[in-house]
């Protein structure tokens, strides 16, 4: 397996990235850590004319945080975010989800924004972005816009990013007082893609559950604070509303059952973590 031919450009400035994307559009691919793009190139599922390497731009390699949000630049590797000492305190859901992303040997190179850009339906970071009301910062030349995770993920490996736009960063709200979070995932082997993954964010009066691996993109549902049979009924309705698929790993019925059981367990764990 060898990639088809492409030009390679190591960008020294953001303007250079924007100019290349404006010139090549869909024929250009932005290369960050390369942990999902490289297999796609080697299997020739992607055949760009130009690869733009953005890993030598210091302005993209920053994690910035204020009282409200954490902003993670496009050059920040997953292992760097996981090793950030403030992560667990500022956003515990990210700290619980990140160890499920690939393996230590791929997190050392793969970026947070790269995983968001790839938008695999079973990937952990898009799921966490959706559960946490994260947003994606896109830029094309001087034009900038911010898209919520809800609007960004549009289907199987497809997003609202325009062909000339660069994902410069993602922003994730800091944990709010009085809320609890939890993350759980079921797969056959460590490091496999999730058959189902769940992320819960709860407060005294409401529950958000987001699930990945079930349909062609991560999905979320917001409930009032329910318990017992009422919560089971709400999870059952959510499971049936998802467009669950059969594949060689699991049937749609099995995935729905995982949403009901793991969904409930995840919500209960998040309630125990309210602080």
């Amino acid at each position: 397996m060898k990639p088809a031919r492409f030009d390679y450009q190591r960008a020294d400035t953001l303007a250079e990235v924007h100019a290349a994307l404006a010139e090549y559009g869909n024929d250009a691919r932005v290369m960050a850590g390369g942990q999902t793009l490289m297999p796609m190139l080697s299997m020739r599922l992607a055949r760009p004319k130009l690869l733009v390497d953005i890993m030598h731009l210091p302005e993209l390699a920053r994690i910035e945080a204020d009282a409200k949000v954490i902003r993670i630049g496009a050059g920040v590797r997953q292992a760097e975010l996981l090793a950030w000492p403030e992560l667990a305190q500022r956003q515990p859901l990210l700290a619980s989800a990140l160890p499920w992303v690939g393996h230590a040997q791929t997190r050392s190179r793969g970026t947070v924004c790269g995983s968001v850009a790839h938008a695999d339906p079973s990937a952990e970071l898009p799921l966490a972005m959706l559960a946490l009301d994260g947003s994606i910062e896109l830029s094309a030349g001087r034009k900038r816009r911010s898209v919520t995770a809800q609007d960004f993920f549009t289907g199987m490996m497809s997003t609202a990013r325009g062909h000339d736009e660069l994902i410069e960063a993602v922003s994730i709200p800091t944990r709010r007082a009085g809320t609890g979070t939890a993350f759980a995932e079921f797969g056959r082997r460590h490091g496999d893609f999730a058959i189902v993954a769940c992320a819960a964010v709860v407060a005294a009066d409401r529950v958000t559950l987001a699930v990945g691996g079930v349909g062609d993109k991560p999905e979320r549902r917001d409930f009032p604070a329910l318990d017992g049979g009422a919560l089971d009924d709400a999870l059952n309705a959510f499971a049936w509303d998802l467009d669950a698929r059969d594949d060689l790993h699991a049937t749609a019925a099995y995935r729905r059952e995982l949403v009901r059981r793991m969904g409930r367990d995840t919500i209960e764990e998040a309630r125990r973590c309210i602080a």
Partner: protein, 169 residues
């Protein structure tokens, strides 16, 4: 701006196991092939070529990396370590390599170079790993011969030796 054209070969230079090396590569050439075919360093093995098996794991700028998920041109200017750099001198194994030999932590040896490179860096950063931590970390490698038990034993043994005589690394 440095745009490297698809149909030409371009000079790639980096530091490999402490020495400067250089050779030519098309932009699409994988670092695995560059190491093996252009530099003749065949210690790095090529298994799945899509990042799953871990056989090609090397160290790039101090962190473990799949050489098959890296382009040779991306590595220009980097500091790279491969399995050829582990032995402290010809005829002498590193502490980790020696533990692998004593514990029979390899049979066919195909996965071994990648696992050694992963563990070498890990044991430098974590001097007292638990078995659970090592199991989690080794999850990034496939071995079809050993069942992993002797690999774990070798890693724990090497960690202990390195704590006692760190100079032997």
């Amino acid at each position: 701006m440095h745009r490297l054209s698809a149909d030409r070969r371009h000079r790639v230079r980096f530091t490999l196991n402490g020495k400067p090396v250089e050779a030519d590569a098309e932009p699409r050439m994988l670092l695995t092939d560059f190491l093996r075919h252009e530099l003749g360093q065949t210690g790095t093995h090529v298994g799945c070529e899509h990042g799953v098996c871990g056989a090609c794991t090397i160290e790039i700028d101090g962190v473990p990396a799949r050489a098959c998920l890296t382009l040779a041109v991306q590595a220009d200017g980097a500091t790279i370590r491969t399995v050829e750099g582990l032995a402290p001198e010809p005829g002498r194994l590193s502490v980790l390599q020696d533990a692998f030999r004593r514990h029979h932590a390899l049979q066919c040896g195909f996965c071994t170079a990648g696992i050694l490179m992963s563990l070498d860096g890990y044991l430098r950063r974590h001097s007292a790993p638990t078995e659970a931590e090592l199991r989690e970390f080794l999850g990034g490698h496939l071995c079809r011969c050993t069942g992993y038990t002797p690999i774990l034993a070798a890693a724990l043994d090497a960690a202990k030796t390195l704590r006692e005589v760190p100079a032997h690394a």
